[in-house]
């Protein structure tokens, strides 16, 4: 089957037309043929009846005087023949043109007639057979009525004659042949015309598809802001147009996010690179003592360490997006993991007089990937230490539910608005006013946490209370 909609539609239309015209032509032909044959038979029968009525019998001789005056039988162009037989089959009279030939004796009863199609001397003929009681010259006058309507007296039974009248159907078949030819030619012409019309209609009908195709072709991957769709789109194609536009919107969004992400990555890498480069260049401008070099080197090392963390985070993000991470589930105790994740930040918290309160019940256990749960908790705790106010408080708690574990980590001193809170999981987003430590925290931590949680089949939300308490809710699936 071809894949061209245009060719398929045209073929379907032609097939439909052929079928329709064939049925129509056949029906018309059959009806006309039957009417013509009926008409022919009627004429043949009336000729036969007139003939039968014209036959007179006088004792034993048949008087055919009237018959001889009937032009049908006397002029050869009528091609009509008759033959009258007695009951025993003896031919008593026949057309002068019949010569030595016989017409078939058609079996029928007195009141009935029978038609038959026959071929004589390779010419088609139609014959009618009937039985009649010929008019007797001494009989009653009403025997002039057609024999079939009169009940013959029993004694006259011997006088019953069989008549066969045959007429050439050449003309009838010529007419039917002409009709066939007319119908066939008309059908062919109509089908040929319908091919043209169908091609034209299909061509026109598919024009919106071509114009949409042209519009789609005009959309370039570096400029996805365009949308398909002018006013002249038919309603049938509307859903396709709408879906395509939806797809374009999603693609544009994804491209823009990707572009912004790349720009952000470039920006976040440029800053530390600029830091390293200018630190090295400035220190190379003159000869310095060892302590100064050492300090420059450790400064560069610190920048490199931060860059390394960032690159690792980026790599992890990319792998999470590409679903290249496999998790190994094991029984974990969140209270313990929180405590071990807290260790690296304890000193900084003490320095800033931030208190830490781990309220997670030690009885709670569930199955998850220990390593990635640690990454999640470390990032969230680091964030909490970073943004808690001096002398503030960090608190963790957890609840075991039927098939999940909910962990909550909160810190005081949050200055974010509710709108800003919605952005904390975006890559490279930092609460602007809290960007004190530029370059040290590049804003990937919570974005990473968000992706890991989702990959683990859980969810994460953030909220800020009026009191300035920032809360992270982790919802982890647990068997």
């Amino acid at each position: 089957m071809t894949h061209s909609l245009r060719i398929r539609l045209i073929l379907a239309i032609i097939a439909g037309m052929v079928l329709l015209l064939t049925v129509f032509s056949l029906t018309v032909y059959m009806l006309i043929r039957r009417a013509l044959v009926n008409q022919f038979d009627e004429a043949l029968l009336s000729t036969a009846r007139i003939l039968a009525a014209s036959v007179e019998i006088d004792v034993n001789t048949i008087d055919l005087e009237d018959v001889q005056n009937m032009p049908e039988f006397n002029e050869p162009q009528h091609q009509t023949y008759y033959q009258i037989r007695e009951q025993d089959g003896t031919v008593v009279a026949q057309s002068p043109f019949l010569g030595t030939e016989n017409l078939p004796l058609l079996k029928t009863s007195l009141n009935n007639v029978v038609f038959k199609t026959l071929t004589r001397r390779d010419r088609p003929e139609r014959a009618v057979g009937l039985k009649f009681l010929p008019r007797s010259e001494i009989g009653t006058e009403n025997s002039s009525q057609p024999a079939a309507t009169e009940k013959p007296p029993k004694t006259d039974k011997d006088k019953i004659l069989s008549l066969t009248v045959a007429r050439s159907t050449g003309d009838l078949y010529n007419q039917l042949g002409l009709l066939r030819w007319l119908l066939f030619t008309a059908s062919v012409v109509v089908i040929a015309l319908s091919v043209l019309i169908a091609a034209f209609i299909v061509q026109r009908g598919l024009r919106p598809l071509r114009s949409i195709a042209a519009e789609i072709a005009a959309i370039r991957e570096d400029d996805l802001a365009n949308r398909i769709g002018t006013a002249s789109i038919p309603t049938e194609i509307m859903p396709i147009k709408n879906r395509l536009n939806d797809l374009l919107s999603r693609l544009e969004g994804a491209f823009n996010r990707e572009r912004r992400f790349t720009a952000d990555v470039a920006h976040e890498l440029r800053n530390p690179l600029a830091g390293i480069r200018s630190t090295i260049e400035v220190n190379l401008t003159r000869t310095r003592d060892a302590a100064e070099y050492r300090s420059a080197l450790s400064e560069c090392l610190e920048i490199v360490e931060n860059m390394q963390t960032m690159v690792n985070n980026l790599l992890l993000l990319a792998r999470l997006d590409a679903k290249q991470i496999s998790f190994q589930d094991e029984q974990v105790r969140p209270a313990e993991i929180v405590n071990s994740c807290w260790q690296p930040f304890a000193e900084k918290a003490t320095k800033r007089k931030i208190s830490f309160d781990n309220r997670i019940d030690h009885q709670i256990t569930f199955e998850t990937d220990r390593q990635y749960l640690s990454i999640i908790l470390s990032n969230v705790l680091e964030n909490a230490v970073e943004y808690a106010d001096e002398g503030g408080q960090i608190r963790t708690s957890a609840r075991r539910k039927q098939d999940s574990v909910q962990i909550e980590i909160s810190n005081t001193g949050c200055q974010l608005t509710t709108e800003q809170t919605a952005q904390v999981f975006d890559c490279f987003w930092r609460g602007d006013s809290s960007r004190k430590d530029a370059g040290v925290h590049c804003g990937l931590g919570l974005a990473l946490v968000d992706r890991i949680i989702k990959a683990l089949g859980g969810s994460i939300t953030a909220e800020v209370e009026n009191t300035g308490t920032f809360k992270i809710h982790l919802n982890m699936p647990a068997k």
Binding site: S278, T279, A438
Partner: protein, 224 residues
């Protein structure tokens, strides 16, 4: 020459501080946008080096505010934003130069020097006053054929006077443009350094170069 650096990335801030200071500039630093704007509005800086992505207030807003308030300081945008549109926007908002991170420190210095020459309407990087020659690029000074050995501070003072050669320069101007904002204020310091400088550049039998104008400050070159 006095510079203001508004840059929030601490390691870069540190190296800029060191490098610019060693290049003989009086430099003020801040990592905060609001503070930077305050500094820029309340001091007459020769060049402001401005990062765009800052906490508190965006770099472009600082620039807009400065220009709206009629400040003439030359501004060099130093940023990681590198697209053409970023550069065009920065320059069109009133910046005088645009440098993308990471950058070569020598290039930053050269661009700052170029902006300084523009500030004082000087095309020639060598300034000649009679037989005194100041090479602004190499930061070297000659009197006649003899090169003079000046300390960075003495050079900075001479450079400022040379940029404004032929016009009276007040002690206040010298204080503001040559000495760092955070060092202790004392009008005496200027006089002391003028004294040091005189000792090194004046020669007996040759015309006097640094003139004291009563109540108006100092003047390098010819007195009009």
């Amino acid at each position: 020459m006095r510079l203001l650096v508004i840059e929030d990335y601490r390691p870069l801030q540190q190296s800029l501080k060191k490098g610019l200071h060693e290049a003989g500039f009086a430099v003020d630093f801040t990592g905060d946008g609001e503070e930077g704007l305050w500094y820029a509005l309340n001091n007459d800086y020769d060049v402001i080096i401005l990062d765009l992505m800052l906490p508190g207030i965006d770099g472009l807003k600082i620039l807009k505010e400065l220009r709206a308030k009629g400040r003439q300081s030359h501004v060099l945008i130093l940023t990681a934003k590198d697209t053409l549109q970023d550069r065009i926007t920065g320059l069109d908002q009133g910046a005088d130069d645009y440098l993308v991170k990471p950058f070569e420190f020598k290039e930053l210095l050269a661009r700052v020097r170029a902006l300084l020459r523009r500030s004082y309407r000087r095309k020639n990087p060598q300034i000649k006053i009679r037989d005194l020659r100041v090479d602004l690029t190499a930061q070297r000074v000659w009197r006649g054929r003899k090169e003079l050995d000046l300390t960075p501070r003495e050079y900075a003072l001479l450079e400022y006077l040379a940029m404004r050669a032929g016009e009276p320069v007040s002690r206040m101007d010298i204080w503001e443009h040559v000495y760092e904002f955070k060092s202790a204020a004392s009008s005496n310091v200027v006089d002391v350094y003028i004294g040091y400088l005189r000792k090194k550049i004046e020669r007996s039998g040759k015309p006097l170069l640094i003139h004291t104008l009563r109540g108006r400050g100092y003047l390098l070159g010819w007195q009009r």
